[in-house]
């Protein structure tokens, strides 16, 4: 199988901040690749470099074999991008946006209108097509943006946090839309902060932290590495470390203690809760609360790096919103 997207040792610094610190990845044609990382990990920077919007300080990247750094014009013709912030014109209607972009894509007028109508229908926006985008919901805006990125019929699509900020229903709808694109043969690289989303959509996942890939594999491989589900137990703080010892023998990875919270990675589902209760009971530890849950991005981080997925610093965020300009 051939490689659709390849990045080698990408480095991008913003003053003191190293946004990309030797990022490398490979995406096979026709697959979905999930770039999973917390806020500030460098996902958007990576996408902007791969889509020619940003030049890296060093490193190389290709899409469908075309060098994105030295041949951006050609590379742009192959791929579509739906950025983190929907890049459509708020003051135009849905159809006006798509016709404008179709015209700028240099389709003849008639074709631009046809294409716009097709896309609106495909993304169930026909009813809203004559409404100003300002009045759209977050999900509708996101779908319009995705439609806009498909005007060029790209074979390779970049989606930067396509479902962040969407309500659960819109998120499911978006997943559907993405799945359909993939079924038609489009190669997709998407970024997300949700392990669940990467699990749902991606054939292969790369976890990134501070501009570097720290783990890579299929969703199952990652989960195994992370140790399946989590049992969270709340006990008296004084007994917490004792509880950790009691749970360690049944856990599939290292048990972590934080205050009165004890967290054990397990694989095996519901039975494990029963086992845990029994083990703690034997050790005469009183359980205040116990629950079984799926691992999150934070758990992935905790097991891979030993620290939590870092919270964004306030100054980072203000910088990030200014990214449009440089």
């Amino acid at each position: 199988m051939s490689i659709a997207i390849e990045a080698n040792n990408l480095v991008k610094k913003y003053g003191e901040v190293t946004a990309l610190d030797g990022l490398s990845l490979q995406v096979e044609e026709g697959t979905v690749f999930g770039l999973l990382g917390p806020n500030g990990a460098g996902k958007t920077t990576a996408v902007r470099v791969l889509t020619t919007l940003l030049t890296p300080d060093s490193g190389s990247a290709t899409v469908a074999g075309v060098d994105v750094i030295n041949d951006p014009e050609h590379a742009r013709e192959i791929m579509g991008l739906s950025g983190q912030n929907a890049s459509v014109d708020e003051n135009l209607t849905g159809i006006e946006n798509l016709v404008m972009l179709g015209r700028l894509f240099r389709l003849p007028k008639k074709e631009a209108v046809m294409k716009a109508n097709d896309l609106l229908e495909r993304f169930t926006l026909t009813d809203a097509s004559k409404r100003i985008v300002k009045t759209y919901s977050g999900g509708m805006r996101r779908r319009l943006d995705l439609a806009a990125s498909l005007i060029a019929n790209p074979n390779i699509l970049f989606l930067d946090e396509p479902t962040t900020g969407l309500d659960p229903r819109s998120r499911l709808m978006m997943w559907d839309v993405i799945q359909n694109l993939v079924n038609e043969g489009t190669t997709v690289l998407l970024t997300t902060q949700y392990l669940e989303e990467a699990d749902q959509l991606a054939n292969k996942i790369a976890v990134i932290d501070k501009g570097k890939v720290i783990a890579q594999g299929t969703a199952d491989e990652l989960k195994t590495q992370v140790g399946g589900e989590r049992i969270d137990v709340v006990v008296a703080q004084a007994q917490a470390s004792q509880a950790a010892v009691a749970l360690q023998s049944m856990a599939s990875g290292k048990v972590v203690v934080e205050g009165e919270h004890v967290q054990a990675p397990v694989s095996g589902g519901g039975v494990k809760v029963v086992e845990a209760v029994r083990a703690l009971d034997m050790a005469k530890i009183e359980i205040k609360e116990i629950q079984l849950r799926r691992p999150t991005l934070d758990d992935v981080f905790l097991s891979l790096t030993g620290h939590h997925a870092e919270e964004i610093k306030v100054e980072d965020e203000t910088v990030a919103t200014k990214k449009g300009r440089k």
């Binding site: 919007l53 030049t55 003051n91 700028l104």
Partner: protein, 279 residues
């Protein structure tokens, strides 16, 4: 056939310049759609010019002595020029907003010529100037202003006014592309226009100004174009024999100014634009 190869076939029929104008006109069309939906723009383009004409004509109408002719005929070309000058602010605000929104990334990802974003903004502003001039002229005519310099001269006057708006828009573009936020763009886009329009002959004859201001006013491009349009619309101007070149030959001075301003600010705005959109 996919749309890619369709585009290639279509695109290869035309040259670079054709596509620049094509892309610019698509952007201009988009900007005009935006303007139409923006009540603020409607106010600036339609209501404010009417208010200005009426206000100046009726409030100051008789208060300022400009010789034997009526102050209204003296004033109206001044108001035309002042209003058109503010086209510069529109370019500053519009471009800055575009640069700060995600739409510019979308444009950059297309095979379009992104200079069209800059040119399209200025073309749309030119259309706004046409509309504004039309409305102001009608209002003026309604309150007794008359064109008495002949048809050809009047057409020439309107063309000069539009060219003036176009050159101001390039200054505005440069400002809009130099500042960081839309708020600053709005303030900076307007701020420089006030001293420029008021330190001119737009509302009072320059002879009434103190000497140190008079020099500035006499060579102010606004003064030249106001004098030129007054003359072309048939307002009788008496020029003192010791008046500077700019007042003796206002039309030539205006044309020189327009060429100089455009020659400086068009490439400057282009450079700023390319810098802002480069990677």
């Amino acid at each position: 056939m996919n749309s890619r190869s369709m585009t290639e076939q279509y695109a290869s029929k035309h040259g670079k310049i054709y596509w620049l104008f094509h892309d610019s006109s698509v952007i201009a069309w988009r900007n005009l759609l935006r303007f139409r939906r923006n009540p603020e723009v409607l106010f600036f383009d339609v209501v404010q010019p009417i208010i200005f004409i009426l206000l100046f004509a009726f409030v100051f109408g008789g208060a300022i002595d400009v010789g034997d002719s009526s102050y209204r005929s003296f004033l109206i070309p001044g108001i035309f020029v002042q209003t058109i000058a503010f086209a510069g602010a529109s370019a500053a605000i519009g471009l800055n907003a575009d640069m700060n929104s995600g739409i510019i990334d979308r444009f950059k990802s297309l095979p379009m010529n992104t200079t069209g974003v800059l040119l399209g903004q200025n073309l749309a502003d030119l259309v706004r100037s046409v509309i504004t001039l039309f409305i102001m002229s009608l209002t003026g005519l309604a309150i007794g202003w008359r064109i008495s310099g002949g048809f050809a001269n009047a057409v020439f006057a309107y063309l000069l006014l539009l060219a003036f708006g176009f050159s101001m828009a390039w200054i505005g573009s440069t400002i809009g592309l130099s500042v960081s936020s839309p708020q600053v763009a709005s303030t900076a886009g307007f701020a420089w226009l006030f001293p420029l329009t008021f330190l001119s002959n737009a509302f009072v004859p320059t002879e009434t100004l103190p000497t140190w201001l008079r020099f500035f006013a006499e060579w102010n491009p606004i003064t030249s174009i106001v004098a030129a349009t007054r003359y072309l619309f048939g307002y009788p101007i008496q020029i003192a024999p010791d008046a500077p070149f700019s007042l003796q030959h206002p039309i030539i001075t205006t044309i020189i100014w327009l060429v100089v301003i455009t020659a400086i600010f068009m490439p400057l705005a282009g450079k700023k634009f390319r810098k802002a959109t480069s990677r």
